[in-house]
Symmetry: D2
Subunit: 133 residues, 4 copies
């Protein structure tokens, strides 16, 4: 609860009907970075490095787990994993802001593209790359 | 346009007032995977590997660019970069689904945590890690 | 055979008794880069990015394989994997050259450090990180 | 000095004239893993994950440094960086052992291949990928 309020304090006000969770994160990250004078470090290149490092830290939690075990995380593991996922999302939103990319739009377009690359009849039950189907 | 319609066709219907873009992606990814019988491959561990690989493919586009140049992508570069960002988001949403993590909530909590780790007075203008501040 | 000769042609001559395979690679990479005027791009930071990307390309070959399957590569898979491993080694040797690091020496020191972090009696049969042993 | 001796103690004896530093590391790693019963975890897939994570930890040291600064590491930074490089080499040697790959041979072959992909006249002064030359 207390956390929620702190988050709200960071947030720019949005009316409920127009609330967009990624735009909200974008605004908070802009403010966060501006307050700390961090824009000087946030080239898309540096942010992409950071994103890649966070993705690797996420992977580290699964490094020695068997596949099935990776679905059965303890509460402590799940919390640690969710924080790394948060970091990945935050850097992704930040890069999208810097490059003026609409993440939801490109993700939906990519899904369409993937559906064409991996037609059900060919891809069903196969983990092959589309170039090998 | 045509793409939009295809995307809508993949989508589960949501009334406008409750539309949540990440939940919408989650549903589309569930359907995508179910149709192709891919859940057998989608352990959190394997998905984290995929996320890390996509983050690396995103980084590859910036590999040899000077920092400033990375802000000035050509339209073709920007399109290619945005597709890799889409892949990162799609895998992230998929892992969140498998682990039952609310991405927006954990991202907001992480922002609060980061604000405590990097207080403005200490972090201003510095790229040091919080452990070195 | 023909390849071997080409490799030799790139190489600086070394007498058999002093041949050090990593120093030999270092010299070839220096020459390779000098001929192409690539030293301008080869900051340690950029080389570390490249190394990370190559490591990710190596991982990509194992992405959807079950653990046991990853030991049973086809000849074509093994060749592709070995080329990615070569890329990792080449970038590693190049960074070591730029930072004047003796790879063999630091690897041997790290092995000693690891032996202290993971004493046999504690680490036997466990995949836990040393901080959790 | 003491470290050197410990390292030697781990090593299988080799006569000076046949000493190969990577084979020596391979033997030490085999022994290290056997003593700890770690071969059960060391599938090529898991080792490739580990290599990728270590490469990312190496990159982390350069994350916020300007290109030129990355050539001017402090002694403490250089030590930390060299340990990550050691980890990368150790995992690479371990994967090579598991897949029976001769790292030096494949690296030399890859250098020849790269020389063909990037002919001097086309690649000079350019950071473009060979597919774009």
């Amino acid at each position: 609860m207390a956390q929620r309020e702190q988050v709200q304090a960071l947030s720019t006000p949005t009316s409920p009907e127009t609330y967009d969770p990624l735009l909200d994160l974008r605004e908070k990250l802009r403010q966060f970075s501006a307050e700390r004078d961090w824009d000087q470090f946030h080239s898309p290149k540096n942010l992409a490095i950071s994103l890649s490092i966070e993705a690797s830290e996420l992977l580290e939690h699964f490094q020695w787990l068997a596949d099935e075990r990776s679905s059965e995380l303890s509460p402590a593991e799940r919390l640690a994993v969710s924080k790394e996922m948060a970091d990945v999302l935050l850097y992704l939103v930040r890069i999208a802001d810097k490059l003026n990319v609409d993440l939801i739009q490109v993700a939906n377009s990519k899904l369409v593209e993937n559906a064409q690359k991996y037609p059900v009849e060919k891809a069903k039950g196969s983990s092959k790359k589309y170039t090998d189907l």
